[in-house]
Symmetry: C2
Subunit: 300 residues, 2 copies
């Protein structure tokens, strides 16, 4: 039987897990509600999921585990430094799981792991410098420079908290007017609701109203696009990606987002290397595929 690895993408409300073949084909996928003990995500659940996946692998040996998680994740040391959504602080998750599972385990940050997948088999392959920026409830980036994925002890890539609107709204991060306050899916819905008086809680509904030409939606969307272009211009000035792959829920609005964003970027770039701006390709699977890549590396 061909060997497999177990890939686990931990979110605050649900955990996606999969068996991943060596060609990065996803063999089997599970989705499980996240279980908590005293506010913190239960590590025992992850061990159970590894066992569950091993059971589903049948006779195929499961030779490694990759785990993706949100927060400040130190990939080199395998420690979840601060994962507020999961209730973890300085948790040596890699070592805990290695001991429990008895096979090599790698720990990665969810967005940087998704980026690894997009850089390897997704929308940003074949280049040494790239960015993957999912836009959902929050915004963060995975950055590849000179073929090296930036980690910085887990702190790299917090593009969602670059200030684009000085003196603007306060964000959970403690910064006024950071990118998330104008362009995260959550803030787009909130900003539109406040401006229009309509109670909307999905950015997709705002995108639909933009297509319909609704003026409040158009204004909120334009502000989001301008903020995204400002933050990306800054990242391009420092990091010069050749390709930027936009993912997350907001990217599902397709050209409603991508066309004005490309135009806004073109208007801002001067001397910089101009990147290709594309939609990410792996959608919701990016985290698991990336965790699978980490698992295969750990197993090697």
């Amino acid at each position: 039987m061909d060997r497999l690895v177990a890939a686990i993408d931990i979110g605050g409300t649900s955990i996606k897990s999969a068996l991943v073949a060596e060609d990065l084909h996803v063999v089997h996928t599970l989705r499980t509600p996240t279980r908590r003990v005293g506010g913190a995500v239960d590590v025992a659940q992850i061990v159970e999921l590894i066992d569950e996946l091993r059971g589903r692998a049948g006779e195929a040996p499961v030779v490694g585990v990759g785990v993706a998680a949100p927060g400040i994740i130190d990939e080199r040391l395998g420690i979840a430094r601060a994962a507020v959504n999961l209730g973890w602080r300085d948790l040596p998750l890699r070592d805990r799981l290695t001991e429990a599972a008895g096979i090599p385990v790698a720990l990665g940050h969810d967005v940087r792991t998704g980026g690894l997948a997009e850089f390897t088999v997704g929308a940003a392959t074949g280049v040494r410098n790239a960015m993957f920026m999912p836009i959902g409830t929050g915004i963060a980036a995975a950055v590849l420079v000179d073929g090296h994925r930036l980690d910085a002890d887990g702190y790299a890539g917090e593009i969602g908290h670059i200030v684009v609107d000085p003196g603007g709204q306060v964000c959970g991060c403690g910064t006024l007017g950071c990118l998330e306050t104008v362009a995260s899916a959550a803030f787009i819905a909130r900003n539109y609701s406040e401006r229009s008086g309509k109670d909307v809680d999905r950015a997709a509904d705002v995108a639909a109203a933009v297509v319909a030409g609704e003026p409040d939606a158009v204004a909120v969307w334009a502000r989001a696009v301008d903020g995204l272009a400002a933050a990306l211009t800054t990242a391009i000035t420092l990091l010069a990606p050749e390709v930027i792959a936009i993912g997350g829920g907001l990217s599902e609005s397709g050209d409603t987002l991508m066309k004005p964003l490309r135009a806004a970027l073109e208007g801002r770039l001067a001397f910089q290397r101009v990147p290709r701006l594309v939609r990410a390709r792996l959608g919701d699977n990016a985290g698991c595929i990336g965790a699978g890549i980490l698992a295969w590396r750990a197993a090697a």
Copy 2:
């Protein structure tokens, strides 16, 4: 005799060159006016300098050459992509010099090479994540992430052209309100001259006026410090350096710059990892020492 390498730091008006020992001790230094042929810096002059240094080395063998130059310098391929100050475009300098000198040659960007020196024997040693930001006529940064110096085909680290004052003054880079327009030594002198009506062309004179409490100088300086803090906050949010070493002419103002800059940074940082902000240590020698390191690596 102990072996040596030749290190050459090319500027638009003068070239600094040196013999560098394996312990990175600078044995001998020359400064030569930059020679041009038809507007472009004459490559033959660099070959002559290598010969000159070899002569001065006496019986010590010169086993490699490191060259630092400004502009878009692709270190991996050894090509000066666009060095406006030197009149070079897509010049394969490394290969040209290797052929002429008959020993291994490495090409580096002046600021990133200076950063290599500061990260190795200067003010930012012993960490895997750091920045070196010289502030002179222009502003750029060398960035170390996970122990890897960012190059991005020569485009990385253009922090001087991050927008910090939207709608502000136009810069040579084509951007409105980038960091250089408020905080480069050249713009600080110009902004003060315009505001005060006094004709000043050195930022050091503005720094002296700040110490004397001159209100126009204080205002121009405060704007520079605020712009530097904004740009550094952005870089910290993306790259999380543990140490930031400030160099260049402006850093010679010492605490006049460093104290308010530390305070402004502290005021802006929220969730980010807080870096140590220090003055660079190697001054004008950083480029040559860094070029020496590159030369030793090429010779290895």
